[in-house]
Structure formats: C-alpha cells, structure tokens
C-alpha cells in the first residue's frame, strides 16, 4: 500500500511539472482532470487501508496513520474539486484575456506544487521534514496570493510573507527544542525526529523542554492556522488571492497547520498531561471565535466575510481540542472535515459571483438565487452549514463540543454558545442579503466550459457535505477510532 501513498504525494508534483509544458487550455484540462482522478483513487486506497487498522509506511520518510489518512481524505477530495474549479475559474480569466498563457500555466504549476507540499507535510514521518514541507507550502502560497499583481494583492502577499515567515521560524525553534529533548533519549539521529519514536519515548522526554517547544510550535503554526491574535494576514490573503487559492487556503491550509499543532499536542500530552495544552488551546480558540464573530458584521466584502468565518471555525476546532475528552476531540476532528467541505463550497460560489459581477461588495450583490440558481443556492447552503444549521456536519460537531464544554466548565459553554449565536446571525444576515431579493445588476456571462467545471466542483462538494452530515460511513469510523486514541481518549462512535 506504500505505492498508493507515493502516488498520492507524487501526483501533484508530476502534474505541476507537466502543466508547465501544456500548450492549450484543453490540454491543461485533460491533465488536471487526470490528476484529480489519480488523487482521488490513490487517496481512497490509502484511506480504506488505514481504516482497516493498518499504518502505511514507506522507508523511514513516509508514514500514514489514521490522522494522516484523515488529512489525506480532506486534502485529496477538496484538492480534486479545487482543481476542477480552478480549471473553470482560471480558464475564464484566460478566455477573457486577463491572464496570459504563460501565467495560466504557471498558476497551475504553483497550485499543484502547493497541493504537493501540503500532502507531503501530512504524510511525512519526521517533525523537521514536516516543517520543511509546510514552509514549502508557505512559499508557494505567497506567490499564489500575490498572483494578481494588483496593489491590494501585493500588500496581502507581503503581509502573508512577513507574518508566516516569522511564524514558521518560531515553529522551527519549537521543532529544534523537541529534537533537543528527544535526542537525549534517542541519541543524535534521524530516529529522534520520527513521530513513531517520539510517541514511544514521549513519557521520558524532558517536560519543560516540551512545554516550551509546544508554545513555540503553537505560535508558529498557529500563525498559519489563523488563530487570533496571529490572524491579521488571513482576511487580506483570502480576500485578494485568486478564488481557487482562497478556497484552498481556507479549506486545506488552516487544517494542515492545525494538524501540525495537533501532532505536537499529542506528544506533549503524553509527556505532561492534557492540563498544559488544553487551557491554552481553549483560551486561544475562544479568542478567535470572539474576534471573528464581532468582525463578521463589519465586513463589506464577501470574500473577507468568509475569511473571518474561517477564523471562527478554527477557533471552534481549538475549543473542541481544548475541552478535550472523547466528545471534544471527536467534535474537533469532525469539525475540521466539515469545515473544509463547507468553506471551499462557499468560496467556489463566491468566486463565481466575482466572475459574473466583477466586484466583491456585499451591498451591491442581490438576487443570486434567482439569477444563478446553482451558485446562489450553494452559497446559501454553505452559509447555512457554516452557521451551524442541521442537517450539516458542522451542526453536529458544534453541539458535541458545546456538550463536552458544558460538562467540564459550564461558563465556557455559555460564552461559546453566545458567540456562535452572534456569528450565526451575522453570517446568515450577510449571505441572505446577497442570495435573496431581486437581482439589481447585469450579469457578465461566462462560457459554458467554465460553467461545467465550476458546477461539477460545486455539486461534488455539496454532495459530500450532505453525506458527511447525515452518515458515518465505515471508513470514517475506522479513522476516528485510532485518531481519538492518539489523543489519549477512547470513544464509541455514535
């Protein structure tokens, strides 16, 4: 099964290099569709295998346990629909002449390299190589955010570079500290950097060094995850990046950064117990939700609106891990998955609105459902999901987290629910203003080809959202059990 894992990681790299050689839009479409199919196929093999209870390893470099496979599931699925969507979105920009052919191919090359770096980070069996892969994703993301070369895009790109480079440097210090602690037990070797070995010797590691390492890692990767107060780059980057990139930033990269934090948490917890990491995550989570809930109302730009909603959901996930316990951990993980699906759907729809209206102002957009039923409808559905309405998965995870929080610290649950109510109201208010009513502006037509690609991405995402909210398929059950065990809790899946 190691082969499938290698294919899964290598596919974006190969596709990225090949895409530089494509001459026409059609060739690019074939290439990227094939890429998406390969991603999905390899991912299903990996996920099914891991769900059976095995751990896939390739040499000493790659290792996919349940948590990695869970990330693979999100990365490959959202990555595949993202590729379809990008074919439509960038194809439209290309057809309109906004993007020249050279930049069109360069975009896909970067986009694929970005996916490659994220998939590598999720599966590599080495804390330092994971850092390198995440830094790689930061670098490609920086170029993608500044892709449009407008003043605002440059500013967003620069902010992203400065903040995430600082963050990633602090994360490296945390990594070095972890290595410093582990090489005392394991000796100066590659072994001292491997997850497997770290889990094994975690109880013997120096607790103070690990605590310090966790603080640095949390600040570092937390910057990339958009945790308040390190979130300031996030709305700018999401607002100014080309929309397919915004969808990947929100749906995938935030989760990947959280994944890195969670990996370290699972080690630190083994060494010093949950009482150290739990409260830190809880406080930062509540802070993120608070800031996002307040600023959601102030947004006039719909892409920034969804960006703030991402900060809110990262905060909710952190609260889940912060309160801990089987329900909290499960809730947090489940929230990550559903947020990835719902937020990418929301951005896909927002990108279509941008293409057909040519601006990002909420007030000037009305009557989306009437004018473009699929786009408007899916934006409304995504907003309902993001606001936490049943039957979507985010409702389930939010209720689970609130329940667990109530059991441990009732006041946390009260604050949490109040903030969720505020976010619920503002998000739905803002989105329904756009979706409902009579259209006031003329539509800029898009080509049928664009429509086909974006529609298939939207439909696939909506279907997955609905399915994940109402069912718990066997393979997910098979992933969740070992994942919660990784965090030291045992749970029964409902």
């Amino acid at each position: 099964m190691g082969f499938a894992l290698i294919v899964l990681i290598a596919a974006p790299l190969v596709a990225g290099l090949l895409s530089l050689g494509t001459r026409t839009r059609r060739a690019m479409e074939w290439l990227q569709c094939a890429h998406a199919v390969v991603l999905l196929a390899a991912m299903s093999v990996v996920v099914m295998d891991v769900a059976e209870g095995s751990v896939i390893t390739v040499g000493i470099l790659l290792r996919a346990d349940a948590l990695s496979a869970f990330m693979d599931l999100m990365l490959a699925f959202v990555g595949a629909t993202g590729l379809l969507y990008a074919l439509g979105y960038m194809g439209e920009e290309f057809t309109r002449g906004h993007v020249l052919h050279r930049r069109y191919t360069r975009f896909f090359c970067l986009f694929n390299l970005y996916l490659f770096a994220m998939l590598l980070a999720a599966n590599v069996d080495n804390i330092a190589l994971m850092w390198i892969a995440i830094e790689g994703s930061t670098l490609s993301a920086a170029l993608l955010i500044g892709f449009e070369k407008t003043k605002a895009a440059l500013e967003a790109g620069w902010k992203y570079i400065i903040l995430s480079f600082v963050g990633i440097a602090l994360a490296l210090f945390g990594t070095v500290l972890t290595y410093y602690a582990s090489e005392h037990v394991l000796g100066v070797s590659m072994e001292a950097l491997r997850w497997e070995e770290l889990y094994r010797v975690a109880p013997d590691l120096n607790p103070i060094a690990l605590k310090l390492a966790f603080v640095f890692v949390l600040i570092g990767y937390g910057t990339k995850a958009g945790i308040a107060p390190m979130h300031t780059w996030l709305p700018d980057a999401h607002g100014e990046a080309p929309t397919p990139v915004s969808a990947m930033l929100s749906g995938l990269m935030l989760n990947l950064a959280l994944y890195a934090v969670l990996r370290f948490k699972s080690i630190v917890d083994r060494a010093v117990g949950v009482d150290f990491t739990g409260p830190i995550l809880l406080v930062l989570g509540l802070l993120s939700v608070t800031i996002a809930a307040i600023l959601l109302l102030a947004q006039r730009d719909y892409k920034r609106l969804f960006a703030y909603s991402s900060i809110e959901h990262v905060g909710i996930t952190l609260v889940g891990f912060g309160v801990g316990g089987p329900i909290g951990i499960f809730g947090g993980l489940f929230h990550m998955l559903n947020h990835a699906l719902a937020k990418s759907t929301a951005f896909y729809a927002a990108g279509m609105v941008l293409l057909r209206r040519g601006h990002k102002t909420i007030e000037r957009v009305t009557g989306l459902v009437r004018q473009m039923p699929l786009v408007g409808g899916s934006m409304m559905l995504a907003a309902l999901a993001l606001a936490g309405m049943p039957p979507f998965g985010l409702f389930v995870s939010e209720v689970l987290i609130a329940t667990e929080a109530y059991g441990q610290h009732p006041w946390v649950a009260y604050v949490f629910l109040c903030l969720l109510a505020v976010a619920f109201a503002t998000l739905l208010y803002q989105v329904s203003r756009m979706a409902m009513g009579e259209p006031m502006e003329a539509d800029i037509p898009v080509t049928d080809r664009t429509r086909r690609f974006t529609a298939s991405a939207l439909v696939a995402n909506l279907a997955a959202m609905g399915y994940a909210g109402t069912h718990m398929p066997g393979f997910l059950r098979g992933l969740f059990l070992p994942m919660t065990r990784l965090f030291g809790v045992e749970m029964e899946i409902p």
């Binding site: 390198i132 590659m190 310090l212």
Partner: protein
Amino acid sequence: MGVIHPDIASQMVDLCAALLLLTCFAIVAQRRLSACVDLFALQSAFLAATAALVAFLTGIHHIYIAALLTVVIKVIVIPRILKKVIERLNVTRELVLTVNIPPALLICGALVILAFYITQPIISLGFLLTKDSLAISLSIVLIGFFTMIARKKAVTQVVGFLVMENGLFLGATAAAYGMPLIVELGVFFDVLVAGLIIGIFTHRLQDTFDSVDTSKLTELKE
C-alpha cells in the same frame, strides 16, 4: 573532543555564539541599509565558524557541510541579492523607524534576559560543549523578530527574518549538534527560495508603490 579540554571547548563555542549576539546588536543600532546587510553577512560568517568549530570538536562531519553551505548561501549569495535590490531601489538610509534606536536597544537587552530566563530550566539538559548557545540562539531569534516589527523598510524586515534564521541555525547546530543532513539541506533550500521570493516581492512593491516603505501598505484594513 579528546584533543581539547571540554571546558575550553565549551568556552570557545560560547565565545562564537556571543559574537553572533553582538552583531545582532550592531544590526539593531545600524541605520544604513547596506551596512545592515554587511553585518548580516558578518554574522553568517561567525555562524559558519561556530558550526565548523562544533563539527571539529564533536567529530560529526556533516556539520562541516552545513558550515560550507552557510558560507555560500548566507555570506555570499543572499547578501549579494540584497545589495542588488538596495542598489536598484536606490535607498540607502532608513529614516523611518517605528522605535528609535536607544529604546530599541533596551528592548533587545530585555529580550536577551527573557531568553536566558526561559531557557534556564532546560540548559542543564544540554551537552557540556554548548552551555549558553541555546539561550543565545533564542535571543537572536527574538531580536530578529523584533527587528522585523520595528523596521519599516522591506529590506530590513528581510534582514530581520534572516537574522532569525541564523539564530535558529545556531540553536540547531550548537545546542542539538545539528539536525540530520537531509533536514539541514531542506532548511537551506527553503531559506534560499524564501530569499528569492522576497526579492521578487520587493521588486514588485517598488514597481507598484514606488517605495519599499511598508508603512505605505495601507489599502487593506478594517
């Protein structure tokens, strides 16, 4: 390590680490951009010397490669790129400072003390060879971080980032005897690409805003 008394060896490494810290202060107190870049190159040279010294004292040979790469990338290539950028942008002086130099120095002093305070409990974990270098590397990381915040010119922010990297590398080499070679190669590759990307961005900033003063980036705010 048999040749040299461990106590003396430890002091030699600490001395090299302290030289890195000193150049940090010089960078904070320096207003001229090109001098900042020169000081960064000097600091990287000290870093390479520290790495070579650690390699010699411990007999771990791959640290020599890291030292060599430091010389090539951080002493020669990146300062060259930055000098080119400065030349093109025609900015030599940094007149805009968010924090004036004397208070900035005081803050950096406080950061150093903080770094020593934080790392004090885990220094006892370390090998005898490198008693203070973990604390010094954290100080350098924090000072680099502060430089990024306190300076407004894009180029000095970059120097701040590179200083942070130097601090990290010192931590990895002197405190942890170097990461495995593949990791170090990866880190070097990333730093080089990061330098290039930052170079690209400063060019674009100059083209679009006619300035590399990042306080002019005010389009996006709440």
